[in-house]
């Protein structure tokens, strides 16, 4: 974090127009930057506050010169141009400036007294937000353009929205590794000589270090003590060339002669070690044979051919270590790409990159303490997995059994309300006293059964007029709304209303919420501004009552009850605000009255 007290001091040249520039020292702190030339007579000293700077531009990493251009606010291209000795210095300054400017871009908003000082950028952001959200637009139109809230008041409650937009635009994504594999870098041959050219860019070197820890390790060990960087990479490319010929025997022969070259030719021992430790972490009880059915690579005509040649498994184990496996390469590459670029060093100096990478590796290793108790854990797991259930003592269930003393409580807790809904007034008197003995009751039942047996089914079970009565009452019930409600669990009351009514209700609901939010946040009223605002809000809220009433009256009678149920909480919320407003007004009047008399 760059706190306010931090400063950055770098050597730089201050350039005016196309002139070669004036060497000196560039100092930056959170508020300002200053340039003092080494030779005080050679040119002007500078002292500029960041709040006069609008933006900054830089040249690309790796381009001819490391420039930083601090553009003045408002004006077009004019700015302060500094040239740095290297890109890392420049980038430190660039990041510092970014932070400083970000801080300043927020400050003026707080200081701003009126909407006049709103930057165009801010304005655009708001307009964009409104365009993206039609509901917000509607609310804005109603409240701000309608004169109930000022522009600032409206946005004050939506800082997060505004900030969210800003963050998205300012932070840049870190560029990851290319998804192309290093091995795709094909050597260039000119047709006439046997010379082969490899092209290694800093980018590729970084990727090689990340994907091949053994090469990385060798680089740290050999360069520059044992060999020059150029020799190192020449050897590396030689090894790559040998690999590309796929001649394991030749590779083995060369490796035997040159032990440095052997490092590149053999399989990466560091990776192999990592792989071993990963394999150790695999559940020892994993049944590989169970998966064998899924594996079809052992079938003929399956598996990947590399460069058109099939890698045929040979039994010559000696040469195996000089062979590469496409699967392994592919996996390793994928892992590195997914891991992303862990360091943020400029890919200029190979040595720095190598060292920085080594440092991050060490940190990772230190963090990875899992290895220590790994073995014990493995043993425990094996024990657990291989135990034979029949031979174990019976285990207590891991949970205490639920013991409910009287389930009737649950029933009484729900029953009352459930039955009230059905409008069953007679429920209280529902328990019919029944003073028959067991014998009587069962005899009666049995007699009924033998009754039907002897009489048989009635030829007409039901009288025509009864059937008609039943049909009538059923149709009547079904067509009434009461029975339509709750027909579908997903359907809400709102879905049953005409779409116009529904939209009106929702609109009122959002605007009431917005008004209430402003209303309640205005208390305690300690400035004239707030008191005026509250009055404005009160008037606006008072205007909503008749509108709600209007909605209620506009719907059909069978829906009116539903609508009034929806409107009720809105009215209640408004009532509460008005009650508070009145009480507070009286209090304030009493106070000011007292003040006046004294």
């Amino acid at each position: 974090m760059n706190s306010g007290g931090e400063t950055v001091v770098k050597r730089a040249k201050y350039k005016i127009a196309k002139a070669p520039g004036n060497s000196g020292i560039l100092k930056m702190n959170a508020e300002e930057f200053a340039f003092s030339p080494n030779d005080p007579t050679s040119g002007p000293r500078l002292r500029v506050r960041f709040n006069t700077i609008g933006a900054h531009r830089v040249t690309k990493d790796g381009s001819k010169t490391a420039l930083l251009n601090l553009l003045k606010k408002g004006e077009g291209s004019e700015g302060y141009i500094f040239e740095f000795e290297n890109f890392s210095d420049r980038n430190i300054c660039r990041d510092f400036v970014t932070n400083a400017l970000e801080r300043y871009s927020e400050v003026p908003k707080k200081d701003a007294e009126g909407p006049a000082q709103l930057s165009t950028e801010e304005m655009e952001r708001r307009i964009k937000l409104l365009q993206e959200d039609s509901e917000l637009m509607k609310l804005h139109k109603q409240l701000v353009i309608g004169g109930i809230l000022t522009e600032d008041e409206f946005w004050a409650t939506r800082k997060k929205l505004l900030d969210g937009g800003r963050k998205r635009t300012s932070s840049t994504q870190r560029v990851g590794f290319k998804s192309a594999m290093i091995s795709d870098i094909k050597p260039l041959t000119d047709g006439r000589t046997n010379k082969v050219t490899f092209n290694l860019t800093p980018e590729i070197i970084h990727q090689i270090f990340a994907e091949k820890p053994a090469v990385h390790h060798a680089f740290l060990n050999y360069v520059p003590k044992k060999m020059s960087e150029k020799d190192f990479w020449t050897k590396y490319c030689r090894a790559e060339y040998l690999h590309s010929t796929k001649n394991a025997v030749a590779a083995a022969a060369e490796a035997a002669e040159d032990e440095d070259l052997a490092v590149f030719l053999k399989q990466d021992y560091i990776l192999a070690g990592e792989a071993r430790s990963k394999i150790r972490k695999v559940d020892p009880t994993l049944d590989m044979e169970a998966d064998q059915g899924d594996d079809y690579t052992h079938l003929p005509d399956h598996g990947n051919a590399r460069d058109g040649n099939k890698e045929i498994a040979e039994s010559q184990t000696h040469y195996d270590q000089y062979k590469r496996n496409l699967m392994q390469d592919l996996n390793r590459h994928a892992a590195v790409v997914l891991e992303g670029r862990t360091l943020d060093v400029v890919t200029g100096d190979t040595r720095t990159v190598a060292e920085a990478l080594a440092r991050t590796k060490q940190v990772e290793l230190a963090n990875d303490t899992s290895e220590k108790n790994n073995n014990q854990e493995r043993l425990n797991r094996v024990c657990r997995m291989t135990e034979i259930e029949d031979l174990q003592a019976t285990r207590e269930p891991p949970v205490a059994p639920l013991c409910i003393k009287d389930p009737r409580d649950y029933f009484y807790s729900q029953q009352a309300n459930a039955l009230k809904t059905l409008g069953d007034a007679a429920f209280g008197a529902g328990y019919v006293k029944c003073h028959v003995s067991k014998q009587e009751a069962y005899t009666c039942l049995r007699e009924s059964i033998s009754d039907i047996k002897s009489v048989g089914l009635q030829t007409s079970i039901i009288k025509a007029e009864v059937a008609f009565k039943v049909l009538n009452s059923l149709t009547h019930n079904i067509s009434s709304t009461k029975y339509n409600l709750g027909r579908n669990n997903q359907e809400t009351v709102l879905d049953r209303l005409p779409s116009r009514t529904r939209d009106d209700l929702l609109n009122h609901w959002t605007s009431i919420q917005e008004l209430l939010k402003h209303f309640w946040s205005s208390y305690p009223i300690n400035t004239d501004h707030l008191s005026i605002k509250v009055d404005r809000l009160k008037d606006a809220m008072a205007g909503i009552y008749p509108k709600l009433q209007e909605i209620k009256e506009s719907v059909q009678s069978d829906l009116r009850h539903q609508v009034s149920l929806l409107v009720q909480p809105m009215v209640q919320a408004l009532d509460a605000a008005f009650a508070h407003y009145d009480a507070n007004l009286q209090k304030r009047r009493a106070k000011s009255g007292k003040n006046g008399s004294i």
Partner: protein, 305 residues
Amino acid sequence: MAPIASKLYTDDVSLVVLLLDTNPYFWTSSSSSSLSFSHFISHVLSFVNSILLLNQLNQVVIIATGHNTCGYIYDSSLSSVSSSISANESSGDAKMPAFCSEVLKSLEDFVKNDESLSSVDAGNGVGSSLLSGSLSMALCYVQRVFRTGPLHPQPRILCLHGSPDGPEQYVAVMNSIFSAQRSMVPVDSCVIGAQHSAFLQQASYITGGVYLKPQYLDGLFQYLSTVFATDLHSRKFIQLPKPVGVDFRASCFCHKNTIDMGYICSVCLSIFCMPHKKCSTCGSEYGQAQSDASTLSGQKRKEPS
């Protein structure tokens, strides 16, 4: 009977599991009202017959819900006689479809068994019938049908119930309801008693079935055939009576007051209007871990991780 797989089950073939309330105390007390047990049975038998006639693959299972026990009374897939009116050689009694005498015979046996299991007089009150038991039996039957293969009739449960709810069956009934919901078996209810049934109201609401309390009990057959005879597939296209919805607000266990907000036991879900030290329903004790942690320093301390 042809093997199930060879039958052509379309989506309008129904398996109706009928639960008949045979609580003798309920029927003796209600005999003065418009519906006697013998009338009830004849309405139900006609209804069963019409379902079997609607589609020859339709299947009806009748389960009796007694006062002390429940039992299967009839299963049309096991019945050896056809359901036609004319076939009536099996009994020397009055003229009725053969399956009816079969039902009546089993019903008689069931009532006998139910009586033998009853220990004491019901005393005062009608008492409840074993709804939880018959619901469970119905669901078991449905599960067995589900397991016969991908092709089976669409099951639904219809409760013809009159006895008041048995609060002591709450947990069992609710478990059955949720199990029906899980297996997507609608529970229709037709309440023939004097009062609404909170159990059945919830059952139908939760499982998407129809809840109905007929106004004119002498027209029971008309209600049954109009509302409950339709197969599940055709139900999508017609308007059936549905209840207004369940008021899910609960009342507290301690004072029986209806509350909007309250305290719930995290173990047994009992509801209270105020915090308690110990749950009165399941005996769990609350609030120990946090408040006592500082005083009981020697005991279980959370290890720094």
